[in-house]
Symmetry: D3
Subunit: 223 residues, 6 copies
């Protein structure tokens, strides 16, 4: 399968891929730590949310901000987003603040970003759901970051839900979870996923038509 552009590829991935399939392919290639830990319980704000794109990172830490330009780094990162980007906000569960919100979502979408994944809480959940902008987070909080947390670095390598992530990697997120594809496995993973998507529908038809799982497994080795 050939894509005319990366944006077309991301759109195809969002329509056809599943995080489980991508994780399985990476597993088989020996990359066993690419999915955000499911124990982090990071979920989309609405069940149909899916996003695929290139990682842009924001690093949050439990720091009190000054009142002078407290969002400087966050603003610069948002204004630098380009179509196909996905904002990846590394932070940590115990922060009480919502580090993502509706205005940020509006700005991100305005710049062509495809979504935002947060290892922490978000705010403005009802509005973001209304916008259908795919935001994934550990939970929600009405509490602002001011004097509680700050973006301390951007576009840096981070640890997200227990996994190491670098800017520029492709990330795929859906209701099952979030998978970060290693740079060196990018091409092979996507090609194989395209192939797998077709295979699974055969398995589905076989099982749906009443075949025993034993037969289906022996034939396709997928379950």
């Amino acid at each position: 399968m050939r894509f005319r552009s990366e944006l077309e590829m991301f759109a195809f991935m969002e329509r056809e891929f599943y995080s489980g399939a991508i994780s399985d392919i990476l597993d088989a290639m020996g990359f066993r730590n690419c999915a955000a830990s499911p124990h982090a319980l990071i979920r989309p704000l609405y069940p149909q949310a899916v996003c695929a794109g290139r990682v842009r990172t924001l690093l949050n830490a439990p720091k009190r901000t000054g009142r002078k330009d407290p969002y400087k780094m966050a603003i610069a990162l948002m204004d630098s987003l380009v179509p196909g980007d996905v904002a990846v906000a590394a932070a940590t569960g115990p922060l009480e603040t919502g580090i993502m919100g509706e205005l940020s979502a509006t700005a991100m979408r305005g710049r062509g970003a495809r979504g935002c994944v947060v290892d922490g809480y978000t705010r403005d959940a009802r509005k973001i759901i209304g916008m259908k902008f795919p935001v994934f987070a550990r939970g929600v909080s009405p509490i602002d970051t001011t004097d509680r947390a700050a973006v301390v670095d951007v576009d840096c390598p981070v640890v997200f839900a227990g996994r190491r992530v670098a800017p520029g990697q492709i990330v795929f997120a859906d209701l099952d979870g979030i998978v970060f594809i290693p740079k060196e496995a990018e091409k092979e993973t996507i090609e194989e996923a395209v192939r797998r998507v077709r295979e699974e529908s055969k398995v589905r038809r076989a099982l749906g038509s009443g075949k025993k799982v034993r037969e289906v497994w022996d034939k396709y080795h997928v379950l």
Copy 2:
């Protein structure tokens, strides 16, 4: 903005306010511990649930009840509710019981209560969702309170999800969280929230029309 009655004000708040905006306003006034801790993971049973009203408290504790009138206090509290009240059930996460249920919701709505927030579990989630009565809880449990937990006091000051709450305060709850407005800040908070609601739509329009976040922040100082 003037309201002809408190009920009108609560209805306006439910239509127009967001817990995040209220929390920000209180923050700026120096009241930094008004939102129920997001770590308590208290959620509405359905995402659109919103309620605003005056706090009426029930205090639950891990106590075995006798079979003779085990719900005496809870019943008295429910029968004393007046329009505009919100039942606030303080308890604690580890209780295995559902301390709120459909019949209580029916009774509460019958008396004009606008919702119920529970620092614990609820029961009858499907029916309550069907009624569209706004109930917020840490989770659900089919297990009854009998011999496991009891209401030990009502209309008393309580600690709810880590925050101190007194009967008569205004509470606002939506998908982002629950905010208890301190008595002394009530008037100013609501006036400022009305103003803020209007401001944010300007910011939204500015960002939607493609303005840089930098410009928008420098002009409105909202994010």
Copy 3:
């Protein structure tokens, strides 16, 4: 109430029963540990999911599998399901893997199983929601079991979310939780639940018509 078959009974239970009512009835008979612990936070993938049926167990453990027929036990169990069965996958929260998925759901439904409850994570949540097959789980994970967990026994007595469960028991699961009915209490529980379903609608009408909770409780002793 008489049912012409067990399948008819399960269908009636799914339409009319609530896990709370079943739990209350068992409580009153002295069976106080029949509901899966609510602290396990096991939820249906979609809020309307309900299932009732006979327990068939799979026991998962944190074991690395060989590549040769890693799903042997799981496949055998699935191929042996008969109409009215509910797969009960005992495992443990900390497993990072999704131990249930869409193809399994397809196979289970193909054999007449009424649902699947998992003390662990599931995969393929979007597809399973699309199928409307009732799956209950602690959460979701895109991570496959290969070399991380294995089915080590089937049709054996297990401990599920803190409760002891044996194959052949009736299980009932809905949005409030999961209740395992002890074999010896089966008949009485279901008869009483049928009776209770009718009673509660009277209570609901009484409360809806504005009666005080005090009066209603004194008359019906239900809350």
Copy 4:
């Protein structure tokens, strides 16, 4: 074995018994929910702490106290303790306060109480360790209860770490955990425990002398 007094019996139990042995005996008699849930992680302040005695309960709840006699109930309970009592403070993990402290420990010991078990946090850990008064708790906190939690009932049946407990039961606590002996099983449990203590030393000697576990199990059925 005969004891001249209950105090002598409690002292013997503290010297010779283990919570594991008591739990096993109750298990074999069909009482399977007598040990405080180990997930509550209730620990003694020092590893050698052991206590046995009659339960006296205090029920704590997340309530703001008035400044007028805030400790009324707690004081009354402490002043009513008699030799052989063990204070059992039911509360709940999320309370941030230390609900037991050194002065209470001094008072309790002064009245002959044998220890205190807390389903919550304690204060003054260093001093209590220095006194060698056996206090068991989920953790420690320097934060006072004032306006954060209150004793709302005493000498009432409570739920402690997930188990139902009534005043007057015998409780046994050591490094492994806390076991509440049901009233009806009291005599038999203690007699059997005395017997078991002797048996286990035979098993220990057999294993110590190099016997295979297989032989020892086949002979003694203890492991």
Copy 5:
């Protein structure tokens, strides 16, 4: 009470004060959020550890480091410590790494620092216990920070175990917990604590001599 130097004052505090007493005094003055949240379960590596001193902060975040001078900020902070300082490492529970270790402890002690409190894990626990250098942490981990976490700022205001902390505040830590004294309350708190230390020994004697708690409370209002 007069101290000839701050170091003398810190030494006196370590000998005579208790975190509970300091927390109570601040509570009474209206400073109710000065103690690190007990839910963070931050503990000393050995029970007798106590430290008092001036806060110096390090802010850690889940960031991958480069191999070139990965510890630059941490090293600079350590080399700038002066006698009476206490290193306060803000981070977050979920980091898997040990962000404090024996060599850092050696360096800190070498520069006169009085201890180190960590909202995260430490390493080299046995050696640090052997040194009797007071380190407080959420737990231990043998895993190094390289490529998993980095110090991203020092001597900045941070959020530590849920509380806002600024460099230069006095911190007091013992087995019960960690209290950060607000700058404006510093003098009054320490004077009152000196007074309280004396009072409590009277209460202790009174209770030890068999007085009822009722009498003692009515006289001293301490419990």
Copy 6:
């Protein structure tokens, strides 16, 4: 360094090694997931406990046992232990049972085993501490496994505290944590650790003599 036997090597490791040093060496070789997750909070029963040896696994699962020979697999494994073995019991945190106890410890020591690490709870903590047999566990529980959990396999590859472990690997456990050395890195890791042990004492001396951390890091690159 040469060892005359594996037992001599294990004894040397227990005297001289630290889990942190081993983890660092493996990290530098690219093996980044060898330490049991520190979030599992697995601790030795006494702080000085250390053990090194060859992994022998027991796999526990939440299964009800029959009364006929419920410990068959566990007994067989224990009777097959040889000097230098370390029992590694994989299970899962939520099991309420103590899956290791004093009699097992006695049997294990009798056969020359050097310790036991448990991803779950242990029993008989006081006695095991008295024996100075190194047992590491998530916590303690007096509750027996009978009808709650069972050993379902032995000497199989398992997942322990989030890491994959195979029988025959070398495991090293101390107060900081538990590290499983990959088979292919065994020789190099141990040689490097011997070298590192010597290096660190130079660093320690340098820091102890008042050298700046900057200088010491620039010279030794160890911190």
